[in-house]
């Protein structure tokens, strides 16, 4: 009948892989267990008779010997520090770098867009400030526009006439003058 101690420790004992205490315990067990004693004896004899390394060795060809000796006999170059980083860490690092480049690129373009929008708003604000129209005249011009729209709805032929845009749009008529035109004055 098989012995569990052999299954767990027998081969490790023969391979001298048990620590001191475990090895002593197994030796004590060997005295009383016939199965383990028999297996141990059998394996030792088999190893001596049949499992000798020369039983399984093979001779490589001289061409292989020459090639291996030629390549491996050269002095080993010191390994670069970067090469010692395990592949997983390396790959993670590469991914992070690519992500960082992507994000910073995106952030750069978004920043550019925001800055140009802010500049535009700032310019418009200055122009409106300089040419601020009196609230009452603004109201009257709005009323005029409303009137024009109403007449077009009623089918007034005069109102259908396309408005001729002079200069840079009709905003100048309402007192809003582009900065460059204002500078010309």
């Amino acid at each position: 009948m098989e012995c569990n101690t052999w299954n767990e420790k027998g081969l490790l004992f023969l391979a001298q892989e048990l620590d001191g205490e475990e090895s002593r315990q197994f030796q004590t067990h060997l005295v009383s267990c016939e199965f383990c004693k028999k297996e141990t004896e059998l394996y030792r004899k088999e190893k001596e008779l049949y499992f000798r390394t020369e039983m399984f060795e093979e001779e490589p060809s001289s061409a292989v010997d020459r090639e291996i000796l030629r390549v491996c006999s050269k002095p080993v170059r010191p390994t670069r520090i970067f090469a010692t980083i395990p592949a997983m860490v390396k790959n993670t690092l590469y991914s992070l770098i690519v992500l960082a480049i992507g994000f910073s690129g995106g952030a750069y373009f978004v920043g550019m867009k925001l800055a140009s929008d802010a500049k535009k708003n700032e310019k418009n604000a200055i122009v409106v400030d300089k040419n601020s129209v009196h609230p009452s005249s603004q109201t009257s011009s709005m009323a005029a526009h409303q009137e024009k729209a109403d007449s077009s709805l009623k089918g007034d032929s005069a109102a259908h006439k396309p408005e001729v845009i002079k200069g840079r749009g009709d905003m100048s008529q309402q007192g809003v003058v582009p900065v460059d035109l204002q500078d010309d004055k």
Binding site: N7, E8, L11, L12, A15, E17, L42, Y43, K45, E46, K47, L49, Y50, F51, R52, T53, E54, M55, F56, E57, E58, E59, P60, S61, V64, D65, E67, I68, L69, V71, C72, S73, K74, P75, V76, T79, A83, T84
Partner: protein
């Protein structure tokens, strides 16, 4: 000085550029590694290719050598990985293509055959051929490479008890095969 310590000194000398040190290491283990690869692949040319790759990989990754392990165990670990990688790539096609060459490859004789009992060697190797590949790998890593069971478990990516179980089965099956071939008990 034990074998492991001597190997470590030779390895250090090799790393410092002593080509003679590598030659000593290589001559010491070349036949064992070749034998292991021949049993794994059953093909001489392929075994020689993997043998070269093994040593080239060893020199490239010399900084990864764990000094608590034996040098031979490290070489066997690399050789095993290379052989497994190869079979993963070629898979079934390889088996079909090389089927005819197998019987020839496994019977190639070397000059050393005269030095050992030729008949016995043939019988033991035939018995080994009948083993399940995983059992054969554990058996060869242990008996030919002297690789510790915990390292075998690591190399094969299995728990220690699985490696021990495979070895027990390998021994049992080899015994059966030897008995079938007229070698009864010892």
């Amino acid at each position: 000085m034990d074998d492991k310590e001597q190997d470590r000194l030779l390895f250090d000398a090799w790393m410092k550029g002593d080509s003679q040190a590598f030659e000593v290491i290589y001559k010491k283990y070349r036949k064992r590694l070749m034998g292991f690869l021949m049993k794994m692949t059953r093909d001489r040319a392929l075994s020689e290719d993997i043998m070269q790759e093994t040593f080239f990989a060893a020199i490239r990754n010399a900084n990864q050598f764990d000094r608590n392990r034996s040098l031979l165990s490290w070489f066997f670990g690399i050789a095993h990985k290379k052989a497994i990688d190869h079979f993963r790539h070629v898979k079934v096609e390889y088996e079909h293509q090389k089927e005819a060459e197998r019987s020839i490859g496994s019977k190639i004789e070397t000059p050393d055959d005269e030095a050992v009992n030729k008949h016995l060697r043939e019988i033991v190797n035939e018995a080994l051929e009948t083993l399940d590949p995983l059992q054969r790998e554990v058996f060869l890593l242990r008996e030919l490479g002297g690789v510790a069971f915990k390292d075998i478990a690591q190399i094969m990516g299995c728990p220690l008890n699985t490696a021990l179980g495979r070895m027990r089965l390998a021994l049992r099956n080899i015994r059966k095969e030897l008995e079938k071939r007229g070698i009864h008990g010892v």
